[in-house]
Subunit: 354 residues, 2 copies
């Protein structure tokens, strides 16, 4: 959607899962899989949301002759302190990243805190310090906020909502509708760190790993890519549901089919080992500092070189191509050349991952 | 604050209540009283917030040669359905109203839903329908959203965060710093309905009352006031902590003292009776569709007449004056002419009121 005067498509909202079978909210409704997608599609319909090809992790809106991006996320992660980050910095990075992949330069954040009665004040201090510090590092400002406290059993710690506003530079137009057959698909680095870091931290698993979350802001790198002259069709950060959910969503929203070369998808050795041990597929594991970019096929190698030049330790990779117009099918090709449809989770892999 | 480049005043955040005495979050930290104010002042300091005279329920920011207002609120009200409204419409009205009292025309909302595992899907349908319906009535659009699900004991139902963006018309400048000695203070209608409606609904009190929440959007009336030519110094909607909290905040932020004529404060008979029975002071009881406006003293009667002309059933009233420069003291004058300082709650009157 581009402005408030464009015709909305408001309609009645009905939950997409038959009431007779699942009359209550389940963890699967928040898991980033197909059940959540059907719920969210219902919200989008009720609220008169944008056409699929215009869908982002945020909205791009016309105002005062320019364009802004507007996005929101609530963070309910458990545990709130984890290897590589905490809920405070995550709440900054996640929303900054959603703005970045709309093509926007992040400017301002809001903070909506819900605190559980009994939450330790020293933990609150650590979280607020972390939010303020992350915002400073990202060059954004918290400009408005709200605090609520709920008694038992309403909240078991702290939930943080951050909404964000960014400015979309003239000429930038990244969205699923721009994806074209022949485009290359580039992932910004190795996947699955955030999810496996949380998994190991939460379960107190005795794995001897040093896996840290990849939680980090991506707007700096995204900004340099957009300024590089390489034409960017679409971008998406990888969060709940992992790379698989992001690819499936973009394929569906752009009515194209993708082929992904499975051996090209970068996965850190420790993450791969932990996934194998615990039965996870890295494609489905959450990230908080990785994103996927669609560019014309001939430019994919240039984009990978450019991204590697920003950070020699990063492992960007071209992982596949847009095969043609289609219905949103994503096919994985193995090292032996065999093909299989990429699975998408229906429900919940790991609750409260972000 | 007016733009992202103005110098922030970031500092370390430390909880304002000594850790040795209150090492955990208490309901009082969210009650709208002085304990909450000290916590929020700590956040504002940590995030480099605005000077007191520029404080609103939202932020006013310069963008593309114009000004926008940006605000956020989380809604955790219990029960979620109450006489006169529900959490869905409340989440629209509350944020629309915060934008309105910044002087802004509300445009766009975000929706951040946190759902408890086990929350009935038919209740979710009612809430989402109510959000969509309230947005349509207010002429605003939900343009972006997020859904999280938490398992027991993380959330006992539904929490909704709405952030909002509005456009501030040229020439509009309403903020505490503009309040001047001699200004008149006008309240838009009778106070205390929302809090007493929730109180009666929650406790299943056998009071034979028909008290309904005043939950309603105020941006239409505010817009007509701003267009009327009556110079508006400052506005504030009355929510947690009631009229008393709003007056105390504005007096403090504008470094002036107020005198309030207690008999002039409009209170509905049923609300007054319920307050007396239950031991509440209507000045402290929450509202969700009332606001207070500061105008030059000579214009207060004009403003009351104008507001009454919009809605013959409304009961706007001039309730006092800005006595002079000062330290934020608010004095109540009784019908006998006796004076006493207006009390402000330190903590919690009624948890989860909004």
């Amino acid at each position: 959607m581009t402005d408030r005067d464009s015709p909305g498509r408001p309609g009645g909202f009905s939950c997409p899962v038959p009431l007779s079978r699942h009359a209550v909210v389940t963890l699967a409704h928040g898991g980033g899989g197909t059940i959540m997608k059907r719920l969210v599609d219902g919200f989008v319909e009720a609220f008169g949301g944008p056409a699929p090809g215009d869908r982002h992790d945020g909205a791009v809106l016309e105002l005062n002759g320019g364009r802004i991006a507007f996005t929101t996320d609530s963070y309910v992660i458990d545990p709130i302190f984890f290897p590589g980050g905490d809920i405070g910095s995550l709440a900054v990075h996640g929303t900054v990243n959603d703005l970045a992949v709309c093509g926007a330069r992040p400017l301002w954040l809001s903070a909506g805190l819900i605190l559980g009665e009994g939450f330790p004040l020293d933990s609150l201090e650590r979280v607020v310090e972390s939010m303020a510090d992350a915002a400073r590092r990202c060059g954004v400002r918290f400009v408005t906020g709200d605090t609520k406290v709920v008694g038992h059993p309403g909240c078991d710690g702290i939930y943080i909502n951050t909404a964000g506003i960014g400015a979309v530079p003239p000429g930038v137009d990244v969205r699923p509708a721009n994806v074209r057959p022949g485009d290359g698909i580039v992932v910004s680095g190795d996947i699955g760190r955030h999810g496996m870091a949380i998994m190991c931290a939460r379960e107190g698993i005795g794995l001897e790993t040093d896996i840290e979350s990849d939680s980090a802001p991506i707007h700096g790198v995204v900004g340099r890519i957009l300024e590089s002259g390489i034409p960017v069709r679409c971008m998406r950060d990888l969060t709940r549901g992992g790379l698989a959910a992001a690819l499936s969503e973009i394929a569906s929203d752009s009515s194209t089919d993708f082929i992904i070369e499975e051996p090209s998808v970068p996965v850190n050795g420790q993450v791969r080992a932990a996934c194998e041990l615990l039965g996870f597929d890295p494609l489905h594991v959450a990230n908080e500092g990785r994103f996927v970019t669609f560019v014309p096929g001939g430019m994919a190698a240039d984009l990978v070189r450019l991204m590697a030049s920003f950070d020699p330790e990063s492992t960007p990779a071209c992982i596949g191509t847009v095969a043609g117009e289609g219905t949103g099918a994503v096919t994985l090709r193995s090292s032996l050349g065999t093909r299989r449809p990429m699975s998408v989770l229906s429900g919940e892999q790991l609750p409260r991952i972000c």
